[in-house]
């Protein structure tokens, strides 16, 4: 579904992405992990078209995304720090997204919206919301348009345990066979439950690109964190 | 001498003659030939085309209704060469034009005690042309031309070598100069309106001891120009809307010992432009919304500029040198930002009416392209704090804080 072909990105002298080659298919749930500054967010931004690669290409359903924007109708994105226009109200935000995406109200997936009780905060401005609440709004919006590709950058950050469970439940329930999910997180245990493929980035390079099953096999560990540690430091 | 006595005697029992289309005498020339000195010729309504009428006797021509004398664009209509002539209530149209002669509707040559009153003159070359006369009166006349080119039209009211003239309550417009005086002395010009003339509303040269009061000079091509004269009084006149690249409210060129008092200079390119003028008093005038209120050339000395209001002018004072020998005091300047702590009605710090920017403009008029830009505002403020280029001796040491009721 998404092919990343020898992708390079330099910021001045810093190589944020260094020859990244990845292929993600429909049905995959990608755990995109790595230390801070490893290039995860840059990679996601490249896929979203927010950042332009220095070299290489990204194909989305067979077509290059460079100089294209239509493909984004198939992407749901939950950003890391939920940066939203401060003065917009939650409801307005929702309406704008629905309107610009040209989606009928009845076609929307309102499960998270209801479970997170966002109706009650419709009239609050984004500025007035706490970080966790903003993240709830953010995740509800990402799922709302049933996108073919769901990108979640640190989805559980700032969420209370109850909300984390609700979100996990939603990820579980979502039909994964028709879509691709990309999740980054520091909390590896969160990913263990549904990750089908593990991509570990370090210093802009792909260090691990295995399916979860392969990873377990190679490392002989069942826990994700231990498996990764084992592969990176095969002592 | 004998004729004079005879004439005087005749006045005691002056006769009158009636001229009109239905009268026994149908032409004015016929009547003037018949008339005796001191007679009054009554002219009834009608159109009189008689070519040039020559008046060489002391007669009174009196219009009844609205008699019109037509020069058919060929003739000078009325030529007067006698004393004690009165011309009242006549309309003159279409005097001839000649490049050789100064054709006029009424030409008066070498006459004393003439009077032209309530006459209307239209489409003339010269309107009223007076030369070598004394003790004449021109009252309540209206002289209007159709503005053409400067060289094709003469002056509305023109004097040459006259004295003791009284020009009162006339309207002159559409001519070269509205009122023109050359070598005219001891005369009074009052309550006239001179407007839309091609060149000057009022123009005089070598004309001393004259007074100009309550006249209005509006929208003339180049404003008013007065030159080479002394002891001139200009009081309570209005100079307005004389606006153009080479126009001014009044141009004073070599005018000395004169008084310019209680006049209004409003919306002129330059209110007063002074060149080679000395010992003049410019007092209690209103300068409002002029391009320059005053342009004083360095050739002027000992002028007193006091008790005037300067309001809304683009530039208050400009001069082409740094040495200024004229005195400014107790004027009201709307730009003055001083204060009066000792409450003596005068500002405690002097006002410098020449801005740096106006000095620059004086040096090179192309600087005007920067007029009203942020830069010039800043420059002027800086110059106020640290004067470098502006004439320091040109200062109003006692500016007042509230405008005079002018």
């Amino acid at each position: 579904m998404i092919q990343i072909q020898t992708l390079h990105k330099k910021y001045g002298n810093v190589r944020a992405l260094d020859s990244v080659d990845l292929t993600w298919n429909q049905g995959d749930v990608i755990a995109l992990i790595g230390p801070n500054g490893s290039g995860k967010t840059t990679l996601i931004k490249c896929i979203l078209g927010l950042v332009f690669p220095s070299a290489g290409d990204i194909h989305f359903m067979g077509r290059s995304i460079l100089n294209s924007y239509e493909y984004r109708k198939d992407i749901g994105y939950m950003s890391q720090i939920s940066r939203f226009p401060d003065q917009l109200r939650v409801g307005e935000m929702l309406d704008i997204l629905t309107d610009v995406r040209n989606v009928k109200d009845s076609d929307r997936d309102m499960e998270l919206y209801e479970e997170f009780k966002i109706e009650q905060i419709r009239d609050k401005t984004m500025k007035s919301l706490s970080g966790g609440t903003r993240q709830k709004v953010n995740s509800a919006l990402a799922f709302m348009f049933s996108p073919k590709v769901l990108i979640m950058d640190e989805p559980t950050a700032g969420l209370d345990p109850v909300a984390v469970e609700i979100l996990k439940g939603k990820i579980h329930r979502t039909d994964k066979s028709v879509r691709l999910m990309i999740i980054t997180s520091h909390i590896l245990s969160d990913l263990e439950d549904f990750a089908s493929r593990i991509n570990y980035l370090q210093d802009g390079k792909v260090r691990i690109d295995y399916s979860f099953a392969e990873l377990r096999e190679k490392s002989g560990e069942s826990r994700l964190s231990k498996a990764i540690a084992h592969i990176l430091n095969p002592s | 001498m004998g004729l004079m006595l005879w004439c005087t005697a005749h006045f005691l029992h002056a006769g009158s003659i009636r001229v009109g289309p239905e009268q026994g005498i149908t032409s004015i020339s016929g009547a003037t030939q018949k008339a005796l000195c001191g007679d009054t010729i009554w002219i009834e309504s009608g159109l009189y085309k008689e070519g040039n009428i020559v008046l060489d006797k002391s007669l009174t021509l009196m219009g009844m209704g609205n008699p019109v004398l037509d020069g058919e664009k060929k003739y000078e209509i009325l030529t007067v060469g006698a004393d004690d002539v009165s011309i009242v209530g006549l309309t003159f149209i279409n005097s001839g034009y000649s490049a050789m002669n100064d054709f006029a509707s009424i030409k008066i040559v070498g006459s004393r005690y003439f009077k032209i009153e309530s006459c209307t003159i239209r489409n003339s070359y010269f309107g009223i042309h007076v030369s070598n006369c004394s003790y004449g009166k021109i009252w309540n006349c209206s002289v209007e031309g159709t503005p053409d080119q400067e060289q094709n039209t003469g002056n509305a009211i023109h004097f040459w070598k006259c004295d003791h003239m009284e020009v009162f309550n006339n309207l002159s417009s559409g001519h070269r100069d509205g009122i023109y005086l050359e070598f005219v002395t001891d005369s009074r010009i009052q309550k006239n309106t001179s407007t839309k003339n091609i060149r000057y509303g009022l123009h005089f040269m070598f004309s001393h001891q004259n007074s100009y009061q309550h006249n209005r000079f509006l929208k003339n091509g180049a404003g008013v120009a007065v030159m080479y004269s002394h002891q001139v009084d200009m009081i309570q006149n209005e100079f307005q809307d004389n606006w153009g690249p080479s126009s001014f409210g009044i141009l004073l060129k070599d005018i000395t010992d004169s008084r310019i008092i209680h006049n209004k200079f409003i919306r002129n390119s330059a209110g007063v432009f002074m060149e080679g003028s000395n010992r003049c008093v410019i007092d209690s005038n209103l300068f409002q919304e002029n391009g320059w209120a005053l342009r004083v050339q360095a050739s002027c000395t000992d002028n007193q500029i006091a008790y005037n209001n300067f309001m809304g002018n683009t530039f208050d004072v400009a001069c082409n040198g740094t040495l200024v020998l004229s005195k400014f005091n107790s004027n009201y300047w709307d730009r003055y930002k001083g204060y009066d702590l000792n409450k003596d009605q005068f500002g405690d710090i002097p006002y410098n009416p020449v801005s740096l920017y106006s000095v620059l403009v004086e040096q090179n008029s192309a600087f005007l392209i920067l007029l009203r830009s942020a830069l010039t505002v800043i420059l002027d403020e800086v110059e106020k704090a640290i004067p470098v280029l502006t004439p320091i001796d040109l200062q109003d040491l006692s500016p007042v804080l509230t405008p005079y009721p002018l």
Binding site: K45, L48, G49, L50, V51, F52, Y69, E70, Y71, R72, K73, I75, Y77, S79, R83, F84, P85, D86, Q87, L88, E92, M93, I96, L97, D99, V100, R101 | W243, G244, P245, S246, S247, S269, E289, G291, W292, G312, T314, L360, Q363, N364, S365, A366, F367, L368, I369, L370, L371, R372, S373, A374, L375, T376, V377, I378
Partner: protein
């Protein structure tokens, strides 16, 4: 596209800054027209404000809004909307709000006091000028990476267009006063949008009479059809060129 312009406009109005500006223009214009017994003087005072304040306000407003709407644009960019449309919509929305703010703020008092054509012309020119300034500011902030530096550069641009440029002209005039530079200088001034608007207003106020023969030349040129076309064309270029460059850069900019 209209949808997106609409959302930008809603966002700008929610910001309240533009309402404050409108109020400021309203109060200024009202008090000038009310206090000055004669309109010419009011027009001149207004002109001073317009020439110095409006470019500054327009540039800072447009520059600041670009950064304020950064998140909003990020949201839009995650949607299937072309970047060209997003930045063009922002430019149009900013222009509309600035022009409307000026038009209403200066225009309503003018209409109440029965303003003549001069003041209406002044308001119209001001609206065009504010859009040109916004276009320049947008280009400057797009070229810069972060907010503080971006707004600093915007201030610098304002300083250049409203002061430094005239200093250059003045220096030219001083050093080459022996040459007939008038026409060249007018041409030079006309290349600066602020100067061009100022000159065009001045000639409308007939200040050209002060400039003697040269002024008559200027007036003849600027009031002729070619002159008007030149003024309008130059202002349009000052709006179009920065906007087009902004679009080009923004299309390839990392956010």
């Amino acid at each position: 596209m209209i949808k997106i312009i609409k959302y930008f406009l809603i966002d700008i109005i929610k910001n309240k800054v533009i309402l404050g500006l409108t109020l400021f223009f309203l109060v200024t214009s009202f008090s000038l027209l009310y206090l000055d017994e004669n309109q010419t003087k009011a027009v001149l005072s207004l002109m001073n404000i317009v020439i110095i304040v409006v470019p500054l306000i327009s540039m800072i407003f447009a520059g600041n809004y670009y950064f304020n709407a950064y998140e909003f644009k990020e949201v839009l960019l995650s949607l299937p909307v072309a970047r060209t449309r997003i930045i063009l919509s922002e430019m149009i929305a900013v222009s509309i709000s600035l022009a409307l703010s000026l038009g209403l703020g200066l225009g309503i008092p003018a209409l109440i006091f029965g303003a003549g054509s001069t003041i209406l012309y002044l308001i119209l020119i001001t609206m065009v000028l504010s859009v040109a300034c916004a276009a320049i500011a947008l280009l400057v902030v797009i070229l810069s990476r972060e907010k503080s530096r971006g707004l600093g550069l915007v201030l610098l641009a304002w300083f250049y267009f409203s002061l430094l440029y005239d200093v250059i002209i003045m220096t030219l005039l001083m050093n080459f006063s022996d040459y007939p530079l008038e026409k060249f200088v007018v041409f030079l001034a006309a290349l600066n949008p602020i100067d061009l608007c100022r000159i065009s207003m001045m000639l409308k106020l007939d200040i050209s009479a002060l400039m003697g023969y040269t002024g008559a030349l200027y007036k003849e040129f600027f009031s002729s059809l070619i002159g008007s076309a030149f003024t309008l064309g130059t202002m349009l270029l000052w709006i179009l060129i920065p906007t087009l460059i902004s679009i080009r850069i923004y299309r390839k900019k990392d956010l």
